[in-house]
Symmetry: C2
Subunit: 341 residues, 2 copies
């Protein structure tokens, strides 16, 4: 590629991960061996004799991640903390404190900000995590919210994406596609039903799986873990790439809520596409030794009154997902999954 | 104030600190006693038996904190880390790692981002601090950069704003007003001279006073410390408010560089106004016991080949600054300092 072409190259051509790969190797040498840096849900640093420190940060930008008239300020405050706590949950950690940077355009009034901080406070109380600092600034046009969260977990016990092992069963902690369905309800201005409301609630008020994450981190045989933020079709690939494994996933085993199934039927939406690629579900995606699965399912159900859902297996091979429907291999193309031609 | 008025109240009317005061008390109860949260340069958390953890975060927004054609991307990358490392320096800490969230508008090309990351890398190498994570996202129009930094310092030894004591001498580690002068050179499109270049360099490439901060944290008799980000007229008030003290500051003792003095003469700018209110100098502002001052000055000069500058004293009284010029009390009004009428 010549210099002229390179000058014109835009971020969308190389993508977020392409951009990160351009600079991250150069920073690697500044890092000590005992640190897990770029590439997992959280960074992991040594903290003391018995605990590691976890750090995560996420930015929500108006008109990219949310529309100001599509989400109430209270929901936005709640969600901006929830998506970060979900990263702590994904390591099996416990949150210690949050930090809020907010860039505020001139027309936003104090009542809006008060509501936003009410939502922020609500989830902070729910998960007992203090707001410890941040930065408040003006912005010209768009609201931008960056939340950083510190957490901790028992030393050496953070569940990394790189920990998947051959023979592991891939599981999720809850329904997939609801949040993506909620977003579609918003964008396509679907007439609201109770089912639509359920999807919108999952989109606006995601629940970080913190107790579930801690339970799983501590459960013998649970290996890799992450949260489902982009949809499992994309997220599972991070586990496969980091672990150097392949996966078989069964579309018919993906947990789909009654509400999503109903709305998909009514609107003729492709339910498999939402369940695999919808994003923002913030359920946990993890792998567990096959022989531990049954015990895990029993204990999880007893503790959380919710099942875990096995959706596939980890195998030796190239980092890619092989999809199956009722035992038949299918392939994903624009518009959905199809049988091989 | 009735509800209708409250609905229309804007952030500019209550200010950044007014906004923070609206919500911070409610969060206080979530915080344990051993944590220093909102209100200092960094949050301070217990980390292990011998060290405390420091956390700071700062957001730079295009057209608010910088103009895209007013600073090179390399300088911007450098500065976005420098302003955060300065907060670690202000506690007397040592940086452990940085986290970068960046929202990128569509027209920014990869070359710009590569340059930005070169500047980010340059300062990361200089202060041996790894980049450990972050978030890359799109933005509609404006570039926004949030950097969070973790650091550490010996347990219980972080220099807080609340630690000033009556009889302390107020000092800074370097020239005041250079960065504000640089900004004025930019905004007023002053024809560039070598002196202007010096001011621009201080504006674009501020140097965090990390070794100086660690030295001061460890020096007996050094009490309160912070960095000069808004100008000492504003910053010193935070120390006074947090410590419940008053201050006397001598305008004729404020350290002003030859370059700033020259450019102010040429452009007929008020040098006192820039030195007290210019902002973004990122020098350290600290208080030290009177009887330790001489020893500190000697050791600092020997170690850093730079003097520390005493500019005033801490006294009993209301949190306010009393200004003096050549021993005469003066008062600040729009346009500069004046003798009392």
């Amino acid at each position: 590629m010549n210099h002229e072409n390179q000058r014109k190259m835009k971020l969308r051509e190389i993508g977020e991960f392409g951009f990160i790969e351009r600079f991250s190797p150069e920073f690697k040498s500044l890092q000590t061996q005992d640190i897990t840096g770029i590439g997992d849900d959280c960074a992991v640093l040594p903290m003391n004799e018995s605990e590691d420190l976890l750090v995560t940060t996420d930015m929500l930008v108006e008109d990219i991640h949310f529309l100001r008239d599509g989400i109430t300020p209270r929901q936005l405050g709640y969600k901006s903390v929830a998506v970060n706590l979900s990263d702590i949950a994904a390591m099996g950690g416990e949150p210690l404190g949050t930090f809020l940077s907010i860039a505020i355009p001139p027309e936003i009034d104090v009542e809006y900000l008060d509501e936003l901080m009410k939502g922020y406070h609500e989830i902070s109380v729910k998960y007992k995590v203090p707001l410890l600092g941040g930065d408040t600034t003006r912005s010209v046009k768009h609201l931008a919210i960056n939340v950083s969260v510190l957490g901790k977990c028992p030393k050496g016990m953070a569940r990394l994406r790189s920990m998947a092992e051959t023979g592991d069963v891939i599981c999720t902690t809850g329904y997939l596609g609801d949040s993506g369905g909620g977003l579609k309800v918003l964008l396509e201005k679907v007439a609201l039903t109770a089912n639509c409301d359920n999807l919108l609630k999952r989109h606006h008020l995601p629940e970080p799986r913190l107790p579930e994450g801690r339970f799983l981190q501590d459960f013998p045989g649970v290996h890799a873990m992450m949260d489902v933020s982009d949809g499992i079709a994309s997220d599972l690939k991070h586990i496969l790439k980091a672990s150097g494994k392949t996966a078989r996933v069964h579309l018919d085993q993906l947990p789909v809520s009654h509400s999503l199934r109903k709305v998909c039927e009514e609107q003729r939406w492709n339910v498999e596409e939402l369940a695999t690629g919808g994003g923002e579900d913030y359920e946990l995606l993890f792998t567990v030794e096959g022989q531990q699965l049954e015990k895990l399912q029993e204990e999880f159900l007893r503790k959380f009154n919710q099942p875990v859902y096995p959706v596939g297996t980890i195998e030796e091979g190239e980092p890619a997902i092989q999809w199956f429907r009722n035992g038949q291999a299918v392939t994903f193309a624009k518009g959905g999954f199809n049988h091989f031609l």
